[in-house]
């Protein structure tokens, strides 16, 4: 039996959503959040964005082209640790359902594609609980690329994976980079037993399936809020 990492030992539940850009995961997690909120459950939403402190460092790093795979990985892990200990962990301890739009697997995929050894990145993030459910929104690479590349004029340097030197053309680089991320995600999905959701369907059908899985795997009654509606 493979170890899946640190088991969530709090009264809360941690639900992570992962997948390529364009996989529709943000839409789905938003709808999930609205459903839980409107049904009166204790829910907290968190997404993968940087704190001001880290943003100012990464801004300088990117401008002066200082970031290497190792420092890129470490600075994002620093940022994640801050968010994890400030937002995620306290809410889990308070008994909330925490919905995370991208979690540590986003870093595991990106960093290994950039050349960091997998065991190293795994260990780096080993302090963070393994989610109770990790939804992996999967769809063919070409579909994800089409969704992103339509109507997006400029890709940012790291977003396009330009630092990997795959191609001098940002769009071509982005395609190749996303291809590698896709492969990394597929490997992670097997290793960490993600709950795979076929994302190549209408929004409503996907949401229905996601809600059904949640109802099935989590005793939602335990997470009913006790705060009167007007005070929520």
């Amino acid at each position: 039996m493979q170890t899946l990492g640190l088991r969530n030992a709090t009264p809360g539940k941690l639900i992570a959503v992962e997948g390529l850009d364009g996989s529709g995961k943000s839409t789905q997690v938003y709808l999930l959040k609205r459903w839980l909120e409107l049904s009166g459950y204790k829910v907290f939403f968190t997404e993968w964005n940087s704190s001001e402190l880290v943003r100012s460092a990464t801004r300088r790093g990117k401008k002066q082209n200082l970031l290497t795979p190792t420092t890129f990985s470490l600075i994002h892990c620093t940022d994640f640790a801050d968010r994890y200990e400030r937002n995620i962990l306290p809410m889990l301890k308070a008994g909330f359902i925490v919905l995370a739009d991208r979690y540590k697997f986003t870093a595991l995929a990106r960093d290994t594609v950039r050349g960091c050894p997998q065991e190293w990145v795994d260990q780096l993030y080993s302090f963070a609980y393994h989610p109770d459910i990790t939804f992996y929104f999967s769809l063919p690479l070409s579909t994800a690329l089409d969704r992103i590349l339509v109507g997006r004029p400029a890709l940012k340097y790291h977003e396009a994976g330009m630092d990997l030197g795959l191609s001098p053309d940002p769009v071509e680089s982005f395609r190749m980079f996303q291809g590698r991320i896709h492969k990394a995600y597929e490997a992670l999905a097997r290793r960490y037993r993600f709950t795979r959701i076929d994302s190549n369907r209408p929004v409503e059908a996907i949401q229905e399936e996601v809600r059904a899985i949640l109802r099935d795997r989590i005793d939602l009654a335990l997470y009913k809020t006790t705060v009167p509606r007007g005070w929520r």
């Binding site: 002066q64 290497t68 190792t70 420092t71 050349g115 190293w120 260990q123």
Partner: protein, 232 residues
């Protein structure tokens, strides 16, 4: 014959250790142990003999030094976040300062290295295997010298120089005691015990730092000389 140069773990992606011709010499020890004085004297001595010297230390990276200073001001980060911030600072200096200098045949004098970072975190509850994994990116130095000074003696030096006790160097963030004096003594003693533990793992040389500076320098020179003459 000198031993082949290695990293503690897999190291930095894409770095060949064969080209690292210089020497990496680390001086460890608490604040007030005389590190800066000794480094100044050693630099003069090495330069007089025609060696090119590069200096590195903690919180000196281009990437995150400013942010790290800001974060420490308010003590707003959790120990793990701060630890990862320091790891980022270390990795940046390793890749942009230490490795290039060694490639160019410099003698790199490091005013503290991963051991201080590890010891500080361990005193605050971090586990050694996680730290070892994080710092498996580090290069194994040619020589690590630990300037040992008893906590009481350190305190005397602080007072003698009319310096105020430092919040972090007194371990005030840990909450041993509201008394700066008690906290300082307790924290420095814990650090010292932890250094002894690390010494068993990493085998650095201890130098008695409680003597006149000249005598300490002579000791350090003897150790350094044997490393430099190992393969010229």
């Amino acid at each position: 014959m000198s031993r082949p140069r290695t990293f503690y773990g897999k190291g930095i992606p894409g770095v060949a250790t064969r080209d690292l011709k210089g020497k990496l010499i680390v001086l460890e020890g608490p604040d007030g142990s005389g590190r800066s004085t000794q480094i100044a004297m050693l630099t003069e001595w090495l330069e007089r003999r025609g060696h090119a010297v590069e200096h590195v230390g903690l919180k000196r990276s281009t990437l995150v030094a400013n942010e790290l200073a800001t974060a420490k001001q308010g003590n707003v980060l959790s120990p793990r976040t701060l630890s990862l911030f320091y790891a980022t600072d270390f990795a940046d200096q390793l890749e942009h300062r230490i490795l290039p200098a060694l490639r160019a045949g410099f003698i790199v004098l490091a005013d503290r290295y991963i051991y201080t970072l590890m010891a500080r975190d361990m005193v605050r509850g971090a586990d050694l295997p996680w730290l070892q994994s994080v710092y498996s990116i580090a290069l194994v130095p040619d020589l690590v010298l630990y300037l040992r000074v008893a906590p009481q003696k350190l305190m005397e030096r602080y007072i003698y120089r009319g310096r105020e006790l430092d919040y972090w160097e007194s371990g005030m963030d840990i909450g041993y005691s509201r008394s700066w004096y008690d906290s300082f003594i307790r924290y420095q003693s814990e650090l010292h015990r932890t250094f002894n533990r690390l010494q068993a793992v990493y085998g650095f040389l201890t130098v008695n730092g409680m003597r006149v500076p000249r005598a300490v320098t002579r000791d350090l020179q003897t150790h350094i000389e044997s490393v430099i003459s190992r393969n010229g």
